[in-house]
């Protein structure tokens, strides 16, 4: 049975590229090294929810159509629109996004990627503060303090800790669980380890302080080696692995971050508690931050989505920047979709801006809040929509989705999702990273190749190719229009 090695996993922003797939009769039958989400994707991608034929809405019902008809219909919708939106892009290849940007420019539309509802605020804050960051290997080799804030890697990026941070083996810093994992690895399979570890952590006594355990003595972070701190509104699975957990009151992250900033500048605070956490606990953590050799702060959408949004990130970026005058510290957003970083990257090199790019005046304009897709929808301004590899009906607030489904709506996706159900044209596409090759960018901006390991269903094309066909059809329509206008 052929085994394909070094496959890049097209699920989350960790972009693990050590997946081994066993292929039998052109089907993936076994997945090695992957997490639960990875396995689920590789083993089930071709299930019964797959779209295999293009669909066009006729008399209120989606009916089968030819690819040519569907492309033609899509091109007509886009070419006639006065303010179309082109949204998605973070679950497809950079190559497809590249064509998508050209299409957006051609039709004078607004092109936005899912970062807008994920780490868009982080990008806005980077644009004000900058960011002290690095590739993940730096953290593996050097970090002796790792903090996850508003992020639950155990659930959203399951192998992050093992591959890149606390449990990884670096040149200057050892893995915390190496002995442990190695011993168990020898006797039982990898899958079991995870459950063993999980059970272990659950058994571990909560040495964690929280606002609900007041009156206890402030625990100290004195352990040698790599330390793990988790800060979150809930005690997540990741929190249970941590050496130190701080439970912050919902919507109070900004206050906590600012308090840390003041503390690392040796400023005194007038208050005893911040965000429900006694200041003495914070002092303990800020000492750990200043005292480490190399610290890393990972933050998730817990910061970008709660009250304060971009300003939470502003404070986090500033905190890390300030820490660099005392020690080495880096910060990184935990990017969700496997190629959301790539979508931002391509958009930036072609237009100067990472997302929410408005081409309606013939050149790129950028102002999230004005040119971002949720706002455009809330103001009911768009008059057509192309959704590529995303499911906004399932991800946007209902009010925004309402206007979206009123627009002539085209969906390019391998699966029948909520948005596809509402669409006027549905174009089935190949799974990028399984049935189509390309490039994706990891959360630290390392580009990795996506492999084609299986054949797409007959007649199903990759996003890149579908978009090229739409683009060329749009150009044909526009040329015809121009000729007609000149003839008049």
């Amino acid at each position: 049975m052929p085994v394909v090695k070094a496959v890049t996993c097209p699920v989350c922003g960790s972009l693990c590229d050590d997946i081994e797939l066993t292929i039998e009769d052109k089907e993936i039958v076994k997945v090695k090294n992957g997490c639960a989400m990875c396995e689920s994707k590789f083993l089930n991608y071709n299930g019964k929810h797959r779209i295999r034929k293009p669909l066009i809405r006729k008399d209120g019902k989606l009916v089968k159509a030819t690819l040519k008809e569907a492309v033609r219909k899509t091109a007509e919708i886009l070419a006639e629109a006065n303010y179309p939106i082109l949204y998605g892009w973070s679950s497809t290849s950079c190559e497809a996004t590249r064509v998508g940007l050209e299409l957006a420019e051609e039709v004078g539309g607004v092109i936005d990627n899912t970062a807008v509802v994920c780490h868009g605020p982080s990008l806005l804050s980077v644009q004000e503060i900058g960011i002290s960051s690095c590739t993940l290997g730096q953290i593996r080799h050097r970090a002796d303090l790792v903090i996850y804030w508003g992020s639950d890697p155990w659930s959203a990026h399951p192998r992050h800790i093992e591959r890149y941070t606390t449990f990884s083996e670096g040149r200057f810093e050892r893995s915390e669980w190496r002995g442990y994992v190695a011993k168990i690895k020898a006797s039982i399979g990898r899958k079991k380890i995870e459950s063993v570890l999980r059970r272990l952590f659950l058994k571990k006594k909560p040495t964690v302080p929280s606002s609900y355990l007041e009156g206890r003595v402030c625990p100290t972070i004195s352990r040698e080696g790599r330390k793990l701190i988790v800060i979150d509104v809930r005690r997540t699975k990741s929190a249970e692995m941590a050496d130190y957990f701080i439970q912050v009151e919902p919507n109070k992250d900004y206050e906590l971050l600012q308090a840390f900033r003041a503390l690392i500048r040796d400023q005194e605070l007038d208050v005893d508690k911040v965000a429900g956490v006694p200041v003495e606990y914070l002092e303990e953590v800020s000492d750990a931050m200043v005292g480490c050799n190399f610290g890393a702060l990972f933050f998730g959408v817990g910061l970008t989505m709660s009250r304060g949004k971009l300003r939470n990130i502003d404070a986090a970026l500033s905190l890390v920047r300030d820490l660099n005058t005392r020690t080495k510290f880096i910060i990184m957003p935990m990017r969700g979709h496997f190629n959301v970083a790539g979508a931002n990257t391509v958009s930036t090199w072609q237009t100067g801006y990472p997302y929410a790019v408005d081409f309606s005046l013939g050149y790129p304009r950028y102002n999230p809040g004005e040119t971002s897709v949720v706002d455009v929808l809330m103001r009911k301004e768009s008059d057509a929509a192309l959704i590529v590899a995303s499911d906004p009906v399932a991800n946007f607030p209902r009010k925004a989705a309402e206007h979206l489904v009123e627009n002539p709506l085209v969906v390019v996706d391998p699966h029948m999702n909520a948005t596809a159900h509402m669409a006027d044209v549905v174009l089935p596409s190949a799974f990028v990273g399984i049935e189509a090759s390309g490039t994706a960018y990891r959360m630290d901006h390392v580009p990795l190749p996506l492999k084609r390991v299986a054949e797409p269903p007959r007649g199903v094309l990759p996003d890149e190719e579908i978009l090229r066909r739409i683009l060329s059809e749009v150009r044909k329509i526009k040329r015809k229009k121009q000729v007609a206008a000149e003839a008049q």
Partner: protein, 563 residues
Amino acid sequence: MELLVKNGFVYDPLNGIDGEKMDIAVKDGKIVEKVNERKAKKIDASGMLVMPGGVDIHSHIAGSKVNSGRLLRPEDHFKDFEPKTPITRSGVGYSVPSTFTTGYRYARMGYTTVMDPAMAPLEAKHTHEEFNDIPIIDKASYPLLGDWWFVLEYLREGRIEECARYVAWMITSTKGYAIKLVNPGGLETWGFGHNVRGLDDQVPYFCITPREIIRGLCKVNKLLNLPHTIHVHTNNLGKPGNYVTAVETMKCVEDLALENKPAIHITHCQFCAFKGDDWRTLESGSEDIANYVNGHSHATMDMGQVIFADTTTMTADGPFQFALYELSGNKWVNHDVETETSGGIVPFHYRRKSYVHAVQWSIGLELALLIRDPWKIFMTTDHPNGGPFIAYPKIIAWLMSRKARGATLKKVNPRARSRSLLPSIDRELGFCEIAIMTRAGQAKALGLKDKGHLGIGADADIAIYNVNPETTDPSRKYKSVRRAFKQAANTIKDGKIVVNDGEILKHVGGATMWLDVQTLEPIKITEEMKRKFKEYWTVEYENYPVTEHYLEVSRPITVKADV
């Protein structure tokens, strides 16, 4: 297709042509002896300058760092944009332009070859993806190798030939063009937030000094027979007193030079020509550097000229960028790359009225004018570090005209003005010297045989500028010279007319040049290397190299190495 450029004043220094009125014939993208005059498309260049297409040896135009700079500065693009036309793609400009705009703007100035000087090997795919979206101009990139763990370890152990083989593997795998060193040793040290202070400082944990790295890679460069020398951004860059480091860096490879051939390129030399103990006592170290360079033949350099404007500094020199952040308080990006290198970005505004900035401005021009041989110093702004490349015509005017220098000098910080050497320098460069500093010399230093000249067989990359050397005295009429170089009358790329009067006529894809370094015995990827790979990087060995599929227009250059 055949093309005939008629009656221009041709400046082709590599072929000894200095302003002769002659025709240039082009066929199938190459310069040829002659073409059928009746069939060929003719360009009337009478009363105009005809030069080889411009070559830029050092300009940050693509890759992860440049793109982070773009991302960081929406306010930089906000008012400088280019709308889509039926021919061109849209984009944004100023100090970090988007890819399409970068290609168009270079082409409009008559430039056809640009080298991106800093590519983190791990992120090489990114650079190449962007290259595909930079139209018209040919490109290449230098991988950053001065702090790569393999280099540090093999050099420490004295295993120079093995080091050379790995460097060869790396250049070929990343589709790179030359060995780039940035603050050698300092970037690894920056991994824990520190820096090296000089050529003989130890790199923590690696027991090697910057001097050993520079000498080691210089030897490697020779063993591999690479077309360009090592390309060095010195230690202590941007620190007062660093001209000593620059001179020492050149000295340290003096004995490695062969038959007067260059062995080292010191890049953006302006930034390492500072004399003085601190910013207050800063003065120009250009004379000391020029004296050294005038007396030796193993070093070339480029200016790194400062332009008074708001720009975005970006280098792989992480500690330097952090120092710049502390100095300016502006936003700061740091990006360290595992086992390889680092990088940083800080927006920066060079102001006429600032003493330090005015001194820097003066240093760049002093270097270019005090170094007698134009084949040794090339015109750059270290785009965008000293200023955006669109300012090149201004620099040409300053170099060609005392009056132009005087006009700017009048407006700068008085203390800097009184200390500037410029008033004492009478030298004014001619068009031939400009042609050397902006194309011929750069192509020669890069070892690009088909570029930078108009001899038979050369690539038909030609720039035509609307200024008449017989009737225009550049010393007095520097403004018309500036105008002419800003918008080429025509730019011809691979025999196609791509620009007419500063307007883009064609969107063609430029090629990506890279070295296919062939070692005597092919590089064996041993189990040891694979093991090391797993330990050092967080990506799999198979996913590391840049496959040729990433290069839309690939132009490999085969190099036979001696190892």
